[in-house]
């Protein structure tokens, strides 16, 4: 949970399977195929950060889930839109880097769209011997950085301040 004073809003957070099962696969020339699972970590991050950012957050796993919307101010639907990484084999750049982009869509309790906010995150980690470990650490760093940006940018982006 972020260490902040929660905003006085009650929200519904939609964490669908697209986010909680997110996996990035990529073939990099001269390297093995990469498969990076970000679903659990993204789910955990968004749930904790949104849970601490607002007065209350009810989590549902599907847009079609029936739920009592009395007292709800906002519905938030996050999507992990893009993920990129770099883990150079040679050269002076000895860092693995990860970058990701979330899109947070907000709706009122009748389902009418309100706003969309783009949240990015960047992480890097020094490569010693373990390249996979460095990419993993950089990706964790990118998620944490996105968490910082959710706290600092999302309320303003949704006109809640």
């Amino acid at each position: 949970m972020p260490l902040i004073t929660p905003l006085p809003y009650n929200v519904v957070l939609i964490i669908d399977s697209e986010l909680s099962n997110y996996e990035h696969t990529e073939s990099v020339e001269g390297q093995a195929n990469w498969s990076i699972g970000l679903g659990n970590a993204s789910n955990d991050l968004v749930t904790k950060v949104i849970g601490g950012l607002f007065n209350s957050a009810i989590i549902i796993n599907n847009q079609d889930d029936s739920i009592n919307l009395d007292g709800i101010d906002l519905i938030i639907y996050p999507k992990l839109n893009r993920f990129e990484f770099d883990a150079p084999i040679r050269g002076k750049d000895v860092f693995a880097e990860s970058w990701l982009q979330f899109i947070f869509s907000a709706f009122d309790k009748d389902g009418a769209p309100l706003n969309e906010v783009v949240i990015t995150g960047y992480g890097r980690s020094e490569i010693f011997r373990d390249r996979e470990g460095a990419v993993n650490e950089a990706s964790q760093g990118a998620l944490r950085d996105a968490g910082v940006n959710i706290v600092s940018l999302l309320p303003n982006g949704l006109d809640l301040l």
Binding site: M1, P2, L3, I4, T5, Y122, G123, R124, E126, F128, G141, R144, D145, G147, V148, N149, V151, S152
Partner: protein, 220 residues
């Protein structure tokens, strides 16, 4: 006989060229009390910044491990759990970069109260990094039907420069600082077989900082 002496002379001068130059400057603020009461602990934090240098996590782990072991061991709080509890104030994009910024952060009531909840009494704030400052030389290797071998000399110089500031949470002020600067020169002489003579500069800085920090805390 002459050839043997010459080879010995070369080996000795190569070994003499390797080594570490150390400079350590500990400073304890007058009247500082480094006493840890029951349930209180120390956390080691490093400078974090994505766009420029950041203090290596390996150094933080090394110092934490050294302080937590030995005869004068002290209670160390996990850096990761401290950063999690204080999220998002110690992330690379938000962490204080100077001791002045750090003092301002401690004025935040939420942050201060959470630090108290963790039981952390002292924060050791590390600022610095280990950098390659110079390198040179060449090694040539060749292989043929009669065998293979290398000839030459390669060398490099690392500089480990760190400031460790110890913050007392109860007084919200610096209790002391330690400045260390270790310069290490490593070499790989090759006469048929390359022999790496590697100086671990960051490890030396870790030992130096750990020794000084232990002496701060073991006085009381």
């Amino acid at each position: 006989m002459r050839l043997k002496s010459l080879v010995l002379l070369v080996i000795l001068s190569v070994i003499a060229g390797c080594g570490i130059t150390a400079r350590v400057e500990p400073f304890m603020e007058p009247g500082s009390n480094f006493q840890l009461n029951q349930g209180e602990s120390v956390v080691i934090l490093g400078r974090k910044h994505q766009a420029s240098f950041q203090t290596e996590s390996t150094l933080i782990d090394c110092i934490a491990s050294n302080l937590a072991s030995g005869v004068n061991s002290i209670s160390i709080h996990s850096t990761k759990s401290f950063e999690d509890a204080l999220f998002p104030y110690f992330e690379p994009s938000t962490a204080p970069l100077t001791t002045v910024e750090f003092a301002i952060l401690l004025e935040n009531e939420l942050v201060f109260r959470e630090i108290e909840n963790t039981g952390v009494r002292y924060i050791v704030w590390l600022d610095g990094s280990t950098d390659r400052t110079d390198s040179g030389g060449t090694i040539s290797c060749a292989a043929g039907p009669g065998g293979a071998g290398c000839v030459g000399l390669a060398w490099w110089e690392d500089d480990a420069r760190y400031d460790a500031t110890v913050w007392d949470i109860t007084t919200q002020d610096s209790a002391g600082t330690i400045y260390v600067d270790y310069t290490g020169r490593s070499m790989i002489p090759a006469l048929i077989t390359p022999i790496p003579l590697v100086v671990r500069t960051q490890n030396a800085a870790c030992t130096g900082l750990s020794t000084q920090l232990t002496s701060f805390f073991s006085q009381y």
